[in-house]
């Protein structure tokens, strides 16, 4: 893998609400290498989307606020950039695909109008040139009849077509990093496979790195190079994809893997992680997973576990692997 493209260090995000302060992210660190596809998995509400939005500084302020940490992209701290500078990066060097392809396009303009807008905005080309780039991109996402699609309104396209149009739009400016926030969750399975293979093909081709957010471990296994597992606003484990699935270290990760239904194991009951995801206004002290953990140790409810690297490239935040633990 290439050099480090994106480096997130000790990121903390809080939302100030009437019910109290939601500590959505705490001490989150991860890196994305050039050209790799990093998966980010976790349950609903664990902070995956917040993390992606932080990178582009898209969280609403108020109520949200990035309270600590830094996000280095090509060596520059994105959190310290001015409004104009971050706008230069958005859509141009880092772009983002959202979960709902139905609502990511403006209903009152045609697809072509919106795609060309982005290209003209960033590449300072004329309309004809922008149109050519868009047709070319639509062809690359295997859209039938690209010229016709450009003249259509979003509601005239199917979900899969809209998501492909979004991918085409976001990749049109050749970004170095693509943030994909559950891009296939709203699509049905066959379309999902199609969209994923297009996404993979195009990003591998252009050398763009992808931060791929999903709660679908199957998709992650198929697509990603490395995986980061998140739980309740903390990163639990980061590992190369094969290693994570073969030998998960964090009890949460293994619980997650055991909770996947398997077609070859008959109708045996699934192993469920006991308990429920904690609220983030008053999260458990120490390791946020400890109330549900079957392998709890003494320091778990007091100290936040440090991020360790028990095997090369395989990091985990768990007291089990601290020198004093189950060694």
């Amino acid at each position: 893998m290439g050099a480090t493209l994106l480096e997130i260090k000790d990121l903390a995000v809080q939302f100030f609400t009437y019910q109290g302060t939601v500590r959505a992210l705490e001490g989150v660190s991860l890196t994305v290498q050039q050209g790799e596809i990093l998966g980010l998995v976790g349950e609903t509400g664990c902070g995956k989307s917040v993390l992606a939005r932080c990178v582009l500084r898209l969280i609403a302020d108020p109520p949200g606020k990035i309270t600590a940490g830094e996000i280095r992209f090509k060596g520059r701290d994105l959190l310290k950039l001015g409004r104009r500078e971050i706008r230069q990066i958005r859509g141009n060097e880092i772009s983002m695909i959202f979960q709902e392809p139905m609502s990511s396009l403006n209903p009152v303009f045609t697809v072509g109008n919106q795609m060309m807008e982005v290209v003209i905005l960033h590449q300072r080309v004329g309309r004809d040139e922008a149109r050519r780039i868009c047709v070319d991109m639509l062809r690359q996402v295997k859209m039938p009849d690209p010229e016709q699609v450009l003249a259509k309104y979003p509601h005239e396209l199917s979900g899969g077509m809209r998501q492909r149009a979004m991918i085409a739009m976001e990749l049109a400016c050749r970004p170095d990093l693509l943030l994909a926030d559950e891009p296939t969750t709203a699509l049905d399975v066959t379309v999902q496979a199609q969209v994923l293979s297009i996404l993979e093909e195009l990003t591998r081709q252009s050398g763009a790195a992808v931060l791929f957010i999903s709660h679908d471990l199957g998709v992650i296994a198929q697509l990603c190079d490395r995986v980061a597992v998140m739980y309740a606003g903390h990163i639990a484990e980061i590992a190369p994809v094969a290693e994570l699935f073969a030998s998960p270290l964090h009890p949460y990760t293994s619980g997650l893997l055991q909770a996947i239904p398997r077609i070859d194991e008959g109708k045996a009951a699934l192993k469920v992680i006991p308990g429920a995801v904690p609220g983030l206004i008053d999260p458990p002290r120490g390791c946020r997973f400890h109330p549900r953990c079957g392998q709890r140790l003494a320091p778990c409810d007091r100290e936040v576990p440090a991020f360790l690297e028990p095997a090369p490239g395989h990091c985990v935040a768990c007291h089990l692997y601290a020198s004093g633990g189950r060694g």
Partner: protein, 309 residues
């Protein structure tokens, strides 16, 4: 079949001159959309009815000098307050002027007032509302409190004060009425903007690097456009009425000028015995406003891409 009628067809190529061809190629898409919009409007009965009324009024205004049987400001004291008859279809007023002629000429002034007021107030109000709603926070508070101050005055009183301060003339009356109407547009568009800015395509636009004013111009305003049109048609009638009231107290159209509202205001005194005086201008205001309203309604339906096909 009706369904097939909605299919777009590409216009037959006709070669007129190279410049026109160039233009047609460059705007092919826009031309196609326009033709399609017109076709949809033609299949909508209320749009046709509203359009016919508007066109009739506009034609009447334009051709008044040719068609009016009398000079609208010609006094004829012998013919004072004649009821409708063959010589004067709509009767005459207290100075013997032909009401039909005055109504025809009045269309010019009233339509002009309505259209200009809606253009000024709608344009400014929409921009103010969209900026206010999208930027939110302090800006929103400041702008909306200013709008509240304007709204807290009865519209006629404020328009009167402004028109008086600017000096009595038709143009000043138009400016005064437009100013009074701005908050109505601004409030409505702000409300729409608040709803639109939560939609995902706004976040998506921000994620692709769009600036705040770009978003207001390209995403917020176009999404509010259909309601501005509808509100515009409503305000158009109200603007004609307020401008008429200003004319009545001498701050708008000056005396000999035939203006519908001013005619009603004067004719009010004679309503008991000479019903025709106030009735005919009133009827024309009514029909004009209804025409704009139903056309605006139909236009909203046709322009909304979610309904149009």
């Amino acid at each position: 079949m009706a369904v097939n009628g909605a299919q777009r067809s590409i216009p037959e190529p006709i070669t007129l001159n190279p410049l026109f061809d160039e233009f047609r190629k460059q705007y092919a898409w826009q031309i196609r959309e326009l033709l399609f919009t017109i076709r949809l409007l033609r299949r909508n009965p209320s749009a046709v009815a509203g359009f016919v009324i508007i066109v009739a009024m506009v034609l009447m205004a334009l051709t008044a000098p040719l068609l009016a049987p009398y000079n609208p400001i010609q006094l004829s004291l012998v013919d004072r307050l004649n009821p409708p008859c063959m010589a004067h279809f709509f009767g005459t007023d207290e100075l013997g002027r032909d009401i039909l002629s005055r109504v025809m000429y009045g269309a010019r002034i009233s339509l002009w007032i309505g259209v200009v007021v809606v253009l000024i107030a709608g344009g400014l109000g929409a921009v103010i509302g969209a900026v206010s709603g999208y930027l939110g926070k302090g800006v929103d508070n400041l702008i909306m409190r200013v709008m509240d101050v304007i709204l807290s005055f009865p519209p006629l009183v404020l328009a009167m004060a402004l028109a008086a301060a600017l000096g009595p003339s038709l143009n000043n009356a138009i400016l005064a009425v437009a100013f009074v109407m701005i908050p109505k547009f601004a409030r409505m568009v702000r409300g729409e903007a608040l709803a639109v800015k939560e939609r995902q395509f706004i976040t998506a636009a921000r994620a692709s690097g769009a600036g705040r004013f770009w978003i207001v111009r390209h995403h917020i305003l176009p999404n509010c456009f259909s309601s501005v049109i509808v509100l515009g048609t409503l305000i158009l009638g109200e603007a004609i009425l307020i401008a008429a009231s200003l004319s009545f107290i001498g701050l708008g159209a000056q005396p000999p000028t035939p203006e519908w509202g001013a005619m009603i205001s004067v004719g009010r005194k004679f309503l008991m015995d000479q019903w025709w005086y106030a009735t005919f201008p009133g009827l024309f205001i009514l029909v004009t406003v209804i025409g704009f309203n139903i056309f605006g309604d139909a236009l909203r339906d046709v322009l909304d891409p979610r309904i149009r096909r």
